[in-house]
């Protein structure tokens, strides 16, 4: 049976445009849904309940930071719940808490010995990765990067290493990243790896986690 010929030229401009339109539609529908949920919850902050709401927000923010910083623990839902309940007004707090959680996980990763990372990968049955980390452990930061690039990884891995901050930003924003450790796990690994310098990492995270809070603020959800 003849198979239809597949073009090697990739997606057409029309298909890209359709995907963008679909993405915008999803954002608009999600915003509309958030409005409906918020109206249904009727969480009006009045003088008589403001103190209680404030305490709940502080508790929620602490839980959000703690859970988001832990590998393989889903915590983003708390932030989304806060955005849904309180709308654009709470977006700065959710953004700040997300940045804090990511940098907390990164800091813990920086302070953990790289041998811990190797053991962790071994426990997770990621043996090749564990071997790679074990070989990289005694090397300097530059030597580690050179060793990783001199190996035989697929082209995309080499590309990701060269543009590692961009790769980091994409990884923390990828839906379903909980299967590879979630935002906290990714940042902890980034810190453990030793190939992510602190200031570019802070800058990367500050930009990378901004789309959702920014969208909520701009759309006034």
């Amino acid at each position: 049976m003849m198979q239809p010929a597949r073009t090697a030229s990739g997606p057409t401009p029309l298909s890209i445009a359709l995907r963008i339109v679909a993405l915008i539609a999803v954002v608009v529908v999600a915003t509309w849904g958030a409005h409906l949920i918020r109206d249904a919850l009727d969480l009006t902050i009045m003088p008589d309940n403001e103190q209680t709401v404030h305490r709940a927000i502080m508790l929620g923010a602490l839980a959000y930071i703690g859970l988001l910083a832990l590998p393989f623990v889903p915590g983003a839902e708390i932030g989304i719940a806060m955005l849904t309940a309180f709308g654009a007004a709470i977006a700065p707090l959710v953004y700040g808490a997300t940045v804090l959680a990511m940098l907390l996980a990164y800091s813990v990763g920086c302070l953990l010995p790289i041998t811990s990372l190797a053991r962790l990968l071994a426990v997770l049955r990621m043996r090749r990765a564990a071997d790679l980390v074990a070989r990289a452990a005694p090397l300097s930061r530059d030597a580690r990067l050179a060793m990783l690039l001199d190996g035989t990884p697929p082209r995309t891995v080499a590309l990701a290493l060269r543009h590692r901050y961009l790769a980091l930003a994409l990884a923390v924003n990828t839906p379903g990243n909980a299967v590879i450790g979630g935002g906290g796990g990714i940042m902890m690994m980034a810190g453990l790896s030793g190939v992510f310098a602190p200031w570019p990492t802070v800058l990367t995270i500050a930009v990378a986690v901004s789309p959702v809070p920014l969208a909520v603020m701009l759309l006034g959800a």
Binding site: Q51, I90, L103, L104, C110
Partner: protein, 161 residues
């Protein structure tokens, strides 16, 4: 640098980044803009009190039972007293013929709430509006009120504090 110093530096950077982001992104909401008049320390409403009937502008909800009392140059809202023990505060007045304008800015001693009142008293009736603004470090919330007041007895027993 020792690991403890590294941890401290990382914590400072993380906290600073988060707090700066929240502060920069948080928009302030100004208090009620009281009209510019020749305001004097208040005394002309002393001994009088008004029971309010009105609504919260944002929600349309009825204003809970509230009595505004004026005693010895000081002012108190019974509802603010219940919510946050605002106590007695100075008020200012400005006369326009038989009409008395008054204003008072009160603050809760235990929480970042600021209430600004502006009212007009004509005879026995009062028309009052104002804002309740809460400025937390991560957001500013405000509600507006609009009400009319009718004469009642002042709550003079509470002024000793």
């Amino acid at each position: 640098m020792t690991p403890i110093l590294q941890a401290a530096a990382a914590a400072v950077v993380a906290l600073g980044t988060g707090a700066t982001a929240v502060t920069v992104m948080t928009k302030d909401v100004p208090d009620f803009a009281v009209p510019d008049r020749q305001w004097q320390p208040g005394a002309e409403l002393d001994g009088r009190a008004f029971r309010l009937s009105g609504a919260i502008t944002e929600t349309g909800a009825d204003l809970p039972e509230t009595v505004l009392s004026f005693v010895d140059g000081r002012f108190q809202s019974s509802r603010c007293q219940i919510y946050c023990e605002f106590g007695w505060n100075d008020y200012r007045t400005s006369r326009d013929g038989e009409t008395i304008h008054f204003t008072s800015t009160t603050r809760c001693p235990d929480a970042p709430h600021t209430v600004v009142w502006y009212g007009i008293v004509e005879g026995d009736e009062m028309r009052v509006e104002g804002t309740w603004t809460t400025r937390r470090w991560y957001w500013t919330r405000q509600i507006n009120l609009l009400a009319e007041g009718s004469p009642t007895s002042p709550k003079v027993e509470a002024i000793s504090g």
